[in-house]
């Protein structure tokens, strides 16, 4: 009723006991969050406003926003940022390939389970191990790729990891290969959720294969596409291990280094923890903004009705 006061109901003993147990169950993850997420985030924000090296005093070397100003004037930071964004060309490539392969697997072909497993193995493999493997695949003189290239053309293949442009191509190839299985599994699950009736009705209405794909498959897979896009963007901004393994010094003329690679170098190789923390904060803000933008834009293209 309008104007009525909210009456506080006294909790029974049983309800109180239940509530205490509830708090007890919530406590470990909450404490874990505070210790391992909230506190480090706050600490990183403070460190980002200092010239802390780990050896000198943190509180005696607070410098306000100076690190942030220097980062925005740092050519190497921007070079790493551009490289990080270039690597994201692999995201649509991976999604298109993943969707295509998933559609093929969804046709009930023989060996579907085996093929699905094979595609997924790279996803669950150690990133360091496969990076080392691919460093040899890309090897200029002894690598598999240049071996095949020479067998087919008689000429020496490109320097996949030693040329400042080719190294980016190599990294994209590797990242697409690594993440393909994950896209395939998700798209396969999404395809299997689409009711057959829609395709049957469209066939009856005379829709072509492309029309069925464009008007049924694509829209109904949009939630999966959205999920893959978000997670790939977040992961793409944090690429580090593959660069460190395959291009230890950042590649020729620092052409392969990503933002996280630069952050690591600044913080742990050059002992500038404050500067590294500031890079981390900037990266976190960028990732947050891009994720928020995608969530805001999802209403325009993500179809959640089936």
């Amino acid at each position: 009723m309008a104007g009525s006061k909210k009456v506080k109901v006294k909790m029974s003993q049983m309800a109180k006991r239940e509530e205490r147990w509830a708090w007890l169950f919530i406590a470990p993850p909450f404490i874990g969050f505070m210790c391992f997420m909230a506190y480090p985030i706050v600490f990183a924000l403070i460190v980002s406003c200092s010239r802390w090296t780990g050896i000198n005093s943190l509180w005696g070397n607070l410098v306000g926003l100076r690190n942030y100003i220097e980062i925005f004037q740092d050519a190497k930071f921007w070079k790493a940022m551009v490289t990080t964004i270039i690597y994201m060309i692999g995201i649509p490539i991976g999604m298109i390939l993943g969707m295509t392969i998933a559609m093929g697997l969804n046709r009930g072909i023989p060996g579907k389970r085996l093929l699905t497993t094979m595609y997924y193995v790279p996803v669950v493999s150690s990133l360091v191990a496969v990076s080392i493997l691919w460093a040899w695949v890309f090897n200029y003189d002894y690598g598999l790729l240049n071996g095949i290239y020479k067998a087919l053309t008689g000429a020496h293949g490109p320097n996949w990891l030693g040329d400042e442009h080719m190294i980016k191509v190599s990294m994209i190839i590797f990242m697409v290969w690594k993440g393909l299985g994950s896209s395939i599994i998700l798209y396969l699950a999404g395809l299997q959720n689409i009711p057959r009736d829609y395709y049957e009705a469209a066939e009856i209405d005379g829709a072509s294969g492309w029309q069925r794909f464009r008007n049924i498959t694509l829209p109904l897979l949009s939630p999966v596409t959205f999920y893959i896009l978000i997670t790939s963007l977040i992961g793409g901004f944090q690429v580090f291990v593959e660069v460190q393994v395959m291009a230890a010094s950042g590649g020729p003329n620092y052409s392969a280094a990503t933002v996280v690679f630069y952050l690591y170098e600044k913080a742990f190789t050059n002992g500038q923890l404050g500067y590294g923390s500031a890079i981390a904060v900037i990266l976190a803000i960028i990732i947050f903004m891009i994720t928020a933008l995608n969530f805001w834009g999802q209403n325009k293209w993500v179809n959640t009705d089936i």
């Binding site: 147990w21 007890l24 169950f25 470990p28 010239r51 090296t53 780990g54 050896i55 000198n56 005093s57 005696g60 070397n61 090897n139 200029y140 003189d141 002894y142 690598g143 320097n159 990891l161 030693g162 010094s249 950042g250 020729p252 003329n253 620092y254 742990f268 190789t269 050059n270 002992g271 500038q272």
Partner: protein
């Protein structure tokens, strides 16, 4: 109720299992003064800690990094030390981790204000550690006789007077001293009919080029060079060529980068990059395919860098099945006529907050200069050399005898290393300039740009002009960080 209790127990079990990976393995030694302690140390992948006990009331925490075979020797020395001071010492905890993790763990200790009593400091870290109040000056704790035993160079690299490293109070005693010497594949020399390099007379730049030309050949006749005179060994294998031409990157006070108008550097860098441009080393592309080190091990290279730590691997026939020996880096025309290289070291230091400075200082003196310990690590008694002796008399005496008599597998030209350590008429070594600055970031633009010269994309003169401002900016930053210490 039962379900809730069961759920809590399961949750606790999961949490405990998740956190159990955080612990390090610790074992305790039984017995007090056993001369043959039966330690059962389980070396975890990320480190291990051993505890040696006495009857006293003082505890010392030692935190170092080293490999397993070194650890056994040093553990033995610590056990002896505990036995010698059993009435004073309650426990010495000897914690060892990997070199990769050491810095991170030390920073964590510094942040938590929980410093071990004895730990490592490199010459590059002495200034920071002292300025920030982490380490104790040893002048009142270590006698002149002990200091006098070690190589002259290591007596100075751990000194600091508050302004200059190399002078003032002593802050550490060396765990080891190493340098980056030069080696040649004697089998390739024999095949080419060349005389071996004379250790008493290092090549000049021009002589070196001629020898490399003779060693650079197409062995299998397929039209492609597959044996080279020399191979590049990253930035650490570049600087000896430059130092041997009298090059200094920085001003004497280490505040100004001087590369653009540095004639000695220009000449030396042209010499170095021309080795690649003229095909006497594998090309930059070939280097990315297979590094110089691998090619050297494969017998494709005539000359290659050899750190004191590489000797054991090169002496192992399974790893390097060729005859080889040490020689000097080639000498440029603009230097002092001697072959120069860089040296490195790590030292034991004592925490300023330790409650037992006398004992800790005595312990590090033992670890650094105990004669039996030095005989073990240098291989005089074990036949397997981990490092050269810290004690110069021992190096020139029993160590050299063991090498000459064939009891210790070591190249016969070991005096090349001694020459670099002590400096003589043919050889000299010094710390790299990056060891005198807070970090080596100022050197990175120089090294990463050298490949562009080696590819023929830019001339040396243009490169030096272009790179100087970026190097200076990074050096200014390093100086600011160095001066940010507060006590």
């Amino acid at each position: 109720m039962k379900k809730k209790v069961l759920a809590m127990i399961l949750a606790l079990a999961m949490g405990t299992a998740a956190l159990s990976g955080c612990q390090t393995v610790t074992t305790e030694e039984a017995g007090e003064t056993s001369t043959e302690p039966a330690a059962e140390t389980a070396a975890a992948e990320t480190g291990s800690a051993d505890s040696m006990k006495g009857n006293g009331d003082k505890t010392i925490n030692v935190f170092l990094y080293m490999q397993e075979h070194e650890k056994e020797i040093y553990k033995g020395l610590i056990e002896e030390f505990v036995a010698e001071h059993k009435d004073e010492i309650k426990e010495v905890v000897f914690e060892v981790t990997t070199q990769d993790e050491y810095n991170t763990k030390m920073i964590a200790n510094m942040t938590a204000n929980d410093m071990p009593d004895v730990f490592y400091v490199g010459p590059a870290g002495v200034r920071s550690f002292v300025d920030n109040g982490y380490i104790l000056p040893l002048d009142d704790y270590v006698d002149a006789e002990t200091i006098g035993k070690i190589w002259g160079t290591t007596q100075s690299i751990y000194r600091y007077d508050g302004t200059n490293v190399g002078e003032g109070s002593l802050y550490a005693l060396p765990k080891d001293l190493s340098c980056f010497a030069f080696a040649y594949n004697a089998d390739l020399f024999d095949a080419a009919g060349l005389e071996y390099p004379d250790p008493e007379k290092p090549y000049t730049y021009d002589e070196f080029i001629e020898v490399c030309k003779a060693l650079t050949i197409d062995k299998d006749g397929d039209g492609e060079i597959d044996q080279w005179g020399v191979a590049n060994a990253n930035q650490f294998g570049m600087t000896p060529y430059l130092y041997s031409n009298g090059v200094q990157f920085l001003s004497d006070d280490m505040t100004k980068v001087n590369v653009a108008n540095n004639e000695a550097l220009k000449n030396a860098l042209e010499f170095y990059t021309n080795l690649t441009l003229d095909g006497l080393t594998p090309s930059v592309d070939q280097d990315t395919a297979l590094g110089g080190y691998q090619r050297w091990l494969d017998g494709q290279i005539g000359f290659y860098a050899c750190g004191t730590w590489d000797v054991a691997a090169f002496m192992d026939q399974a790893t390097f099945p060729y005859k080889w020996n040490l020689c000097g880096w080639p000498v440029g025309p603009d230097g002092d006529g001697r072959s120069h290289t860089w040296m490195g070291s790590v030292g034991y230091c004592v925490s300023k907050t330790t409650e037992n400075p006398d004992l800790c200082a005595e312990l590090i003196a033992k670890l650094s200069t105990d004669e039996d310990g030095q005989k073990a690590v240098s291989g005089i008694t074990t036949g397997n050399s981990i490092q050269l002796p810290n004690i110069s008399d021992l190096a020139y005496g029993e160590f050299l005898d063991a090498v000459n008599e064939g009891k210790l597998p070591f190249p016969s030209n070991v005096r090349v290393l001694f020459g670099y350590f002590e400096g003589d008429e043919h050889y000299a070594a010094a710390l790299q300039e990056t060891d005198y600055t807070y970090n080596s970031e100022w050197f990175t633009p120089f090294w990463s740009g050298v490949q562009n010269i080696q590819r023929g994309n830019i001339s040396v003169a243009d490169f030096l002009t272009e790179v100087e401002p970026e190097m200076q900016k990074a050096l200014d930053n390093a100086i600011e960080l160095q001066n940010s210490a507060t006590n």
